[in-house]
Amino acid sequence: MVSRNYLMNIDCELCTGCRRCAEVCPLNAIEGEQDAPQFINSERCVLCGQCVQICSAYASAFDESLTPRAIKLRERGMLETVKEPLFAAYNVGHALQVKEALASSELYKVVQCAPAVRVSLAEEFGFPYGSLTPGKMAAALRRLGFDRVYDTNFGADLTIMEEGNELVKRITEGKDLPMFTSCCPAWVNYAEQEYPELLHHLSSCKSPQQMSGVIFKTYGAKIDTMDPAKILSAAIMPCTCKQFECTREEMADSGYRDVDVVLTTRELAQLIKDKGIDFANLPDEAFDLPLGNYSGAGAIFGTTGGVMEAALRTCYELITKEKAPRIELNFVRSGEGIKTAMVRAGELELRVAVVSGLKNAAKILEDVKAGRCQYHFIEVMTCPGGCINGGGQPKFLLPEYREEAVRSRKASIYEHDSRLKIRKSHENPDIQKLYEEFLGEPLGHQSHHLLHTEYVARKGQN
């Protein structure tokens, strides 16, 4: 198991000891005296990257006493051409690794982008907050040299198929309820670390990233008649924990590393600038089919309550076998830390909860431990507001800029969903084709082998 602490660090040369990171850290994993350099307790840190987002202790380009910038860039796995200022709290990047891979002709480079990336990437090029630019993103990825531009949103639809069915199965069997979502890797780390006894409540589904990854190297390889060994599976995520997730041992059900490397939204922007691509004037291009096609449900995974809403759109029809009367479930769209609701599906009263920000999870987990929790399905997102506010997202200079950005990104995602023709995961034709040709049926043997995983208690292990 790769130790996690190499991914998240605080540069003691730059840290001024202001401890603003300590305030936002959901795990209080940042220790140190006030005004003295802080350091990250890797046994507690779940790699959510909120500290990286808030840290303002930058390295002045004119302070000769500091280690030269070139060395710091290499330390942080960043491209030399990156011009933005470096801050004390940082996540180790892999842009160099991806750049080399893109340059090599033997590899067959496949990429997937998370739902939250397409509403934030443009901000790194000076676009207004939350600009929705999936077309330019796909065009940029092709110009970077990716052979296949697929999409995590396809994986999201796939996750809904599996997780939706898993929920219905648990409810009908009345076992292991409430069920928690499992797509947020930091939340999984947290559960493994702090509440190992509740691990069986977590959905056994892998995250959309890992599902897409395993499909690319199996089904994808087949339809492209490509030797999976030569496939390089990269993912662009708004998250600093996804890179850790793809290195988990168990994430190799395709016989190879399902996802070889993960870049954050910021790193993708840096790669684009490094290549000299004029992002603003790129034409809109589509994602490659079939594994780049996605529904509105997949698209809204990026924001808090999105997974819940997508799941309910499908579960309703699984349970009642009738079309859901309303697509938009507004109760999950407000901004509070914990939102609860009761959805009537046929005669079943589905009680659901949505947790935004890991700090809000503790209360519900205690209820579950004590058996007092009456919810069936609970969505947990570590970052307040969901992945659109992830650790790898464009970092803002001013606190109010950040709130404004999260609001606009959320609006853009729901706007994007409302515009798509297909808005339920199970109506995604390519998903249906995947099951017919390859997976069989949800929770089936093939799905179980490729799309599901187990969790391991790891109290203070890494």
């Binding site: 001024t16 000891g17 202790a57 002045s60 901000e123 910021r266 803002f396």
Partner: protein, 192 residues
Amino acid sequence: MSGTLNSFVVANPNQCIGCKVCEIVCFAVHNKNNQVAMSVGTIAAPVIPRLYLVRGETFTMPIQCRHCEDAPCANSCRIGAIKQEDKRIVIDENDCIGCKTCLLACPFGAIDLLPQFKDGEAVIQANLKEESEFGLEEKVKTIAYKCDLCQDHGEPACVTACPQQALTLVIPAEEKKRRNRQAAVNLLSALN
């Protein structure tokens, strides 16, 4: 105290935690022409703040220009690049020739001499070259930077951005009135 005195921003060392948000924000607000938008990724030029965090054993706080009424920097500027404009001491960055005199003149160390950037690129001098072993190399223009009280953005950005509200815009005339009143009130309680 006449109302025409210059205001200035001052930090309270007990509130300040040394997080440098003020420095970053000051740079961002002054570099819109360098395509610096809201996010860190859009910053192409090195961060050049106009206030400077000072950290010692027992204190930490930013130091910036006090917009002195008899500004020593302006009086020492041989080409008159430093002027008073609507109650602010402002440096005309295009006139500045980097002669460093104002650096010596300022008792607070509130002025720094750093490269000039336009549209994200360092400004190159028209003619001065630097003799090096590879022949004559272009020379970046270096100019004096100091706080201009956010001349064209209204309220000083550092004051609003400071997470600890450690920075305050002092308006001398009002400040005096406020303190006088406070002193009078204290007097009241002291006497009876």
